[in-house]
């Protein structure tokens, strides 16, 4: 059996082990050293940052957590960076979700990102958790005309009419910005189709920025920048945006070091780099085997024909 044949028949568990090492070793090294790669923000991440940065103090922002724990590894760093940026901008944050399993993620993000940064914020005045509502795009259609009809209470059961910051919230047009972090259906695409698109060409089109998984990003690119003012694509987008937000936080708190939690997206770029390099290496090796075997097979056939 030649080397090429042995390589072709390699047990896939070796590939699994290589992938485990490619991801685990950088995580350990980065955890020990705190090192990270420099980020050069791309156009969609920069547009996201600038849209949020342009919000005035006290702007009303609807933040929809449309993902679940399965995709939290990719999307939670975006949600965290979004929340820190909103805290920095002193925005009024209205959290909701259309995914049943996302409600605890909202509480966790509020606690870890918004309240850690600004402990003086008051529930119902500066931020609110409106919880989950069933109905997918049906909910989007209803909140486009009457927000409180779909969300009559918050996550704690308090009537939305009794929550001070809900005063003046009629529908989705009442918000200065909608932020969506989404992993699939219903997600950013539905928000664009059912909430943003009907307002285009009217007096005040709704502004929307989204954070999405890598697999759904290509489907959403056509909506940028007309229907969607910004988009964070996968952990790379999260890292670029997080870098920009951290620069703002550092400028606001000179001399104060940033805790490691503020760099979780950037820290994930190292395992991503080595995972990608391994994939590229595997593709090259796989194709080398393919071409060598094809040449062997062709020369074998030619020899048989000659004989």
């Amino acid at each position: 059996m030649s080397f090429i044949d042995r390589l072709d028949a390699i047990d896939r568990r070796w590939i699994f082990l290589m992938m485990a090492c490619a991801v685990a070793i950088p995580i350990i090294v980065i955890g020990l050293t705190g090192a990270r790669f420099p980020e050069v923000p791309g156009p969609t991440s920069t547009a996201t940052f600038e849209t949020i940065e342009a919000l005035p103090e006290g702007a009303k922002v609807l933040f929809s957590f449309d993902f679940d724990p399965a995709s939290a590894g990719e999307l939670q760093p975006m949600a965290n960076a979004f929340m820190r940026h909103l805290g920095q901008k002193k925005a009024k944050v209205y959290c909701q979700t259309l995914w049943a399993s996302a409600t605890p993620l909202i509480e966790e993000t509020l606690k870890k990102c918004l309240l850690t940064q600004s402990p003086d914020l008051v529930y119902g005045v500066d931020y609110v958790n409106l919880g989950y509502q069933a109905g997918n795009e049906g909910v989007m259609k209803v909140i486009s005309t009457d927000y409180k009809q779909s969300f009559p209470t918050d996550a704690k059961g308090t009537r939305t009419t009794a929550i001070p910051m809900m005063e003046g919230i009629e529908n989705t047009s009442s918000f200065d910005l909608i932020m969506v972090v989404s992993a699939g259906y219903p997600g950013s695409k539905e928000w664009v189709q059912y909430v943003v698109s009907p307002t285009l060409g009217k007096g005040k089109p709704i502004q929307l920025v989204a954070g999405v998984t890598g697999v759904s990003a290509p489907q959403l690119v056509p909506y940028f920048p007309t229907q969607m003012q910004g988009m964070l694509a996968a952990i790379k987008g999260a890292a670029e945006y997080e870098y920009m937000v951290n620069e703002v936080i550092k400028a606001a708190n000179p001399g104060k070091p940033l805790p490691p939690a503020y760099m979780e997206a950037q820290r994930r770029m190292a395992p991503q780099l080595f995972g990608h390099l391994l994939m590229v290496g595997l593709i090259i090796v796989g194709n080398t085997i393919f071409f060598v075997k094809r040449r062997q097979s062709r020369s074998g056939s030619a020899m048989k024909a000659a004989a």
Binding site: P38, G73, G135, G275, N287, F290
Partner: protein, 233 residues
């Protein structure tokens, strides 16, 4: 009779939604229909739970292959439902310290929170993470430049894989960012693939889907397509 009723309800709701989008005085009717949809969607959870129980109980009673997994599914379902409904381990809200279980069912420390954090989150994250291993194996065995289309796909994958990491910056960082050749930097090539090729392809797909949805919706509203009722019609 029940099938005819379902077709009539579909016809009325469908026409209402279309009309409400074009005629302003009927806009409120469309909003009401959307609200009915939300109520039905909430009720679908109950039906979904009943269906889950029916399917898995039937598997267990007939000792089908993998019936043990069905038993685990039902047990997990029952435990999660019970700890959520009965608010097991829920502490009082700080505002109402004298009212037992006044906190949220998923508040930190409750049994539901524990199940969510230490069971659901871990299991689903593990399932998602396994993709990396299977994709790596598939990249080695299946991603071959067999023809022109596959080669183009391969080249695009290479550029995106490298352009989305620091490797792209290292490999093509020597090209000045302000030069005429800056578009050849991996990060810029990756952006071009997203904004031009992927965007163009996806626009075509989106338009195709929209036309397909319109045609299918019309068939459902007019009662030509009745497959949504779950029979062989």
């Amino acid at each position: 009779m029940s099938r005819q009723l379902a077709i009539i309800v579909t016809l009325v709701a469908g026409v209402l939604m279309v009309v409400s989008g074009f005629i302003k005085p009927t806009q409120g009717w469309g909003e009401d229909a959307a609200e009915w949809f939300n109520i039905l969607a909430a009720m679908a959870f109950v039906l979904g739970a009943a269906n889950l129980a029916k399917v898995h109980l039937s598997k267990i009673s007939s000792r089908d292959a993998g019936w043990g997994f069905s038993a685990v599914t039902l047990l997990a379902f029952a435990v999660t439902l019970a700890v959520g409904l009965f608010k097991v381990g829920v502490n009082p809200m700080p505002a109402f310290p004298d009212v037992p279980m006044s906190g949220g069912k998923d508040a930190e420390g409750s049994a539901f929170w524990w199940v969510y954090t230490y069971v659901l989150s871990s299991i689903t994250a593990t399932m998602f993470s396994l993709l990396a291993f299977y994709v790596a194996s598939a990249a080695f065995r299946a991603f071959r430049a067999k023809n022109t289309e596959a080669t183009l796909l391969l080249v695009a994958a290479f550029i995106v894989l490298l352009g989305r990491t620091f490797a792209g910056v290292v490999l093509t960082g020597w090209i000045p960012a302000d030069s005429d050749w800056a578009f050849l930097r991996f990060e810029n090539l990756s952006t071009t693939i997203f904004e031009v090729f992927a965007s163009a392809g996806n626009r075509a797909i989106i338009i195709g889907i929209a036309l397909g949805v319109a045609a299918t919706s019309l068939k459902i509203i007019l009662g030509i397509d009745r497959s949504y009722m779950g029979s062989g019609d």
